[in-house]
Point group: D2
Chain length 426, copies 4
């Protein structure tokens, strides 16, 4: 029995009629979705889709995970507190303990957990604020093709000109620097270091450098570990705080809980959202090194800092990280994706494809304008959800739930390959 | 059976140890909450609290409303899609139809619905952006003691200096004007009009004027309907967009669905969040007059625009507005609050109390420094959740769930009166 | 013998052909000027003009003052150093000594003299910088209809929307407050004080308040001495620096050397330019209370800080202030202007005239659109230089050289009266 | 007979006592100057100095040029109009005609002349304003180690962090890009082009690119002609206005009237000041391509736009450009300087010297901290005025008046060489 009765044939009209023109995914995926489980989604016509999109990295544990679902239903049934601002609750306390036990302690990380409002842009805004407060400086360095969110503070550190223009005001107090490999010859660090050490460079010593280790929206650009270490070194040299925005690349997306673990760096501030909530419920946290946690009480607040349903699912999600199995599984599946990408680039040279990314956050950039979008459209028609990325939508990306199995991956690959063939008229 | 097992005696330590210093309500209400129903909340020691706080206006329909709870559990059980970014889903479509049918059509309002990310500050940021885009202007006029949120755009239109200072950067492109009754002699409109019409005033013609009809955080200041109409008139005269931030005062808090209905004005943009989600789940919408809905697709986006659980509860919550009963009930209870306030001010002259607010958003401002906070502390000890408001926390405010019954109100009043007596040593 | 030979009949074309469209006074006074002495000017056609304009307050000592002229010629003849950046020179030293002896010491003022670049906007920019440095704050409060200059810092504290718009960027870090008498009921101080003392007002505690005691460009609005004292009191109460921009109203224009003397206030910073140079040569100084003179060497610099010709004339000009005669003379002539204005307003009621200003900085505001401009045009044709002021050019103003004699004034008055009659068709 | 009588022995005290701490050159050159002629200056003790400083490029025609002096004295004697705001005057008209005839027409340049206020920072501010108005954009790209002036607009495009910090507010709406040769491998253009063409770069399409062809204050860095052409090409490709700030490098300093002539580029806007006035009197002009001269009348104004003495000297100065002799002479002297620099670098390897600059705007950068300053101090003691340049004062620079003769140069060189030897203990 389905709770909400709808007439399938009328549905897309509802959105066109009542929803703002700003709507986006209902255009890329023009159908009305109803049900979802694991790596699969169904629309009102019961058409099945394999999900290579995963809520843009929010559904690392898949749709409607059974264990979390059970806990959520129990929580609701028992009338445990649902909304609580940032009051102390059992669910919040449980999450804090669990996060410390499973994530921070084993990694020897001394972070305080801040609940900044349950969206990615909220955690980024809170990170920028505390970095400015700690250092007393105003400028923040961000990177070409960075994406950090839609509110003015986060937009100021976002690279995309279309999004920035949407601000309607000039965005300031930030400087955009070249991301790793932005130039063919790898000089990004030299460039940044020169600007920082030259007192005549016109770039003030910043409060923070904010970065994604893999740029999800900006084209699945993965920074090398060496570059990340170089950036950390610059931060230490000039007393700049290092903020890693791990909203999309974190929570296992690239193989480890934090995406920066293999680089061996220790950011001063880490932004988490998307999959931290486990079940796709709105949640975000900001991790702040204890020594920098100089907030005044309530200096940053917000109504939905106490989404207890999210805490319940989030705590359960952390059990995936109690041993290495989950992490190892991601590694294996990453290699499958990697091999498939190699195959496609090699086999379909007309694509002029370039491999991008890391872990289960990989994609193919095609030089040919419009091609990646066509491939995604074909894939949608064939039952695969996949989206593009990059300033010119030049990348089609593989972002399946991390819990996907090999069968799911292979089915998805088959659809991708068919779509590529169709688009290339092969 | 309680899902999450906790040792009550250790709990507050968990928050002190692991959570950032920024935490706030766990300081005002120093206990660990566990369960909630209607207008009551229980902590881990099974102490019961009457809720005169309602999630700062998020729980207008009370905690864990049974009808919504049933629908949420069913939705979860059937594995209907939970997280969907802004894809079309059955739950989203249902909400759009219902909102149009129950709210917009009967009020003859032609708004498009935007899902800007599920928090108050997200809807405010989206409102500012579209207003600037529509008009091509940059300045926004906001008011003394306004509160609109914690991200840089929203902070720029917020009055509180402590919060503003937290930005760590100068906040710009905004001008703060006196709210209604800011000066003892009512000249706010004259002041604003003069600045707008004088080309030498130093204040640029703004993109928008943003206001709360009752300032929730700024001291429960209620604007008169006349002032609201005057502001609308100024907006029309100078082609300025009028944004009403109805995040706290909307969804029935002052007696009507939109707080501005009795004033007879039609804002260009309306921000809703908090109680729009019905069950306290994160949700926000921005209403934009059709003619101003000139967003490009995806110009403002965000991960949690598709919180389907919230849509399910939100749709159910709208049924409260299918007839006048709910509205009338709020009116009656408002009068009870009003009478009680009159009684307290009259009876306890030492309070130097002043009545503030409208509907179920009323409070008492005490001139005596620190007194309102002491009263709230006493009330907490006696089992009542109530918080202060205003730049110097000078107001103690009554913000019960709208579904509270007379018994609940009276119990709450009794605790308030005892607390006042205690604080005044009577 | 005239040094530069010109063909008079071709001249205005030269300006139309070669000079930028931004040119202004060559439009209001469409003739080519050649010679000047005292309060008189002659164009290439030997038409004589009485000067009620005085270089917008730059020629307080009249055109080409004989004593200064003699010293300038001697200085040039002897090849004494002309351009010297801010090196120590005899002429600069002489000015510093003289200024201290004649101006500062007798008034018991302890200011350091800064040479910030030889224009009004330069002194204002330097004043804003040092005030921000001293206080560590960013906001500056300025006033409706203020005029402080055309560079971005000065424009930010200027009221005129046309000029502000010319910046091409949003102007920030400033707040515009109502000048004295901006509202019919005099509440300006109450407004400002309320904004400053309320921590929820949205207006940050400023580094400085900058004001003109009489607003020259903004409509010849004279602040009352009481208001000036109230502003100083606010500054002291909130540790705000008080900057008086005395560029136009200073150097005797309103009767005393500093315009603020009769109010009994002691600004922290004073901006002087225009007539400080004596002969109309570019010069500006910024006076900074010793305790606030915390500049690092060269923190503000500029090429033309050492205009030695200006120093020579400026030192001579100061001799006017060695006794009370000059000051008393201004007072007498001010009363003549005042009486004449009363007469015009009374006699020509169709003007709907309002008296404005103080000292030899007075004018008549006419409610009738365009009238003041017409009167100035008529006056020009009749041989009088006079300009309008105010956001809508609604004031025609009397700004003769302070050295004008009674005959000169009366001749000017006669032309004004004729012009008024002509415009009113009398 | 000396006009101003001073007691030499007391003089430096005057400046220490009365002048602000911001004073700078009176510290580097701690004596009181009195007289000057050609390339020589004398102090009150009649000590003679050779001038390798030339008012930081203001005295290209030397001190107190006899022809100009004669005209100035005549102008004064005849009581021709001295101060005239921007009214049409004979002297202004003469300059406009002369400038068009001698400079613009022969170079086939179609510029309108704007008088923006008589300082370098005024012309830069006006250039930024008109560029933003023409394009409707806000961002301006400037370069590392650029110097454009001390007012907020000009500071925003200046690289030096000490000067920028002096603003007391964050400087915005500008982006600092690497100047030619900023990196050892010459990639500046590639960097800039990539930022401009990538819509995800975080750098908005700018209104203008502003540059000095040789950076005078930033370390005597000379851009290659190729780089200048590349920058112009970028400007054309992206419809960006090119502003050349020729305040220091213009008026013949590098061998041609405009410094950019040999590069074959045609900037949209040119800023001139310093030597444009001929005699060291305050003057500045902004040249704007006719098609971009869309100013409204009076949109940018200022009191000292009519410094007629400066116009008289400026017109005379232009006669130097009526044939090639002056230009050729500069070329010869430049080669002498160049050879001398080669000699010093070769002979005194301990200097670790690097040659910088072009024309009569050359210098030696020494890697050894503090050395260049010591050399300048030694030179001063020996009777040579010379100053350092660069973010760490690492360059000692040769900026003699262009009219210097070979004897003067050689005398200066001898002092420099002695100073180098002394400092190196040779």
């Amino acid at each position: 029995m389905i709770t909400v009765k709808v007439k399938p044939e009328m549905e897309m009209e509802v959105f066109e009629k009542y929803e703002s023109n700003v709507r986006s995914y209902s255009r890329s995926f023009p159908t009305v979705f109803k049900k979802a489980k694991g790596y699969k989604v169904w629309d009102v016509n019961e058409k099945e889709y394999i999900d290579f999109f995963a809520g843009a990295g929010t559904l690392n544990y898949g749709h409607n995970n059974d264990k979390m679902k059970k806990l959520l239903i129990e929580y609701l049934e028992e009338d445990l507190i649902t909304h609580s601002l940032d009051m102390a609750t059992v669910a919040r306390g449980k999450f804090l303990e669990q996060f410390n036990e499973v994530i921070l302690k084993p990694r020897n990380l001394d972070y305080k957990v801040m609940f900044p409002g349950p969206t990615g842009t909220n955690t980024v805004e809170s990170a920028l604020k505390i970095a400015r407060k700690v250092t007393g400086r105003e400028t923040v360095i961000s990177f070409t093709n960075a994406f950090h969110g839609m509110t003015i503070g986060s937009l100021s550190v976002t690279g995309n000109s279309f999004k920035r223009h949407g601000a309607g005001i000039p965005l300031s107090h930030t400087v955009s620097m070249p991301y790793d490999d932005y130039f063919s010859s790898n000089r990004s660090i030299e460039y940044i270091e020169r600007f920082l050490e030259d007192s005549g460079s016109g770039v003030a010593l910043p409060a923070a450098i904010i970065l994604e280790t893999v740029q999800g929206e900006g084209g699945i650009n993965a920074a090398s570990y060496e570059w990340l270490r170089d950036i950390e070194r610059l931060c230490r040299r000039f007393d700049i705080l290092l903020i890693v925005d791990d909203v999309q690349a974190g929570c296992g997306r690239t193989g480890t809980f934090f995406s920066f673990e293999p680089a061996g760096i220790k950011p001063d501030i880490v932004c988490l959202s998307k999959s931290i909530g486990g079940y796709g419920l709105p949640m975000a946290i900001t991790l702040i090194k204890s020594e920098h946690d100089i907030w005044e009480p309530a200096e940053h607040n917000g109504t939905f800092r106490g989404n207890n349903l999210a805490f319940i699912a989030a705590s359960e999600a952390l059990t995936y990280w109690e041993n290495k199995d989950f992490s190892n599984g991601i590694q294996e599946k990453s290699e499958m994706v990697s091999s498939f990408i190699d195959h496609v680039i090699e086999e379909y040279k007309e694509l002029k494809g370039e491999k991008r990314g890391r872990g289960l956050m990989q994609g193919i950039a095609s030089e040919i304008e419009g091609l990646s979008e066509q491939i995604c459209n074909e894939a949608f028609n064939r039952g695969l959800l996949m989206e593009t990325s990059g300033p010119n939508s030049e990348v089609f990306k593989f972002l399946p739930p991390l819990i996907i199995d090999k069968e799911g991956l292979e089915k998805g690959f088959a659809i991708v390959e068919e779509s590529v063939q169709t688009v290339l008229n092969k």
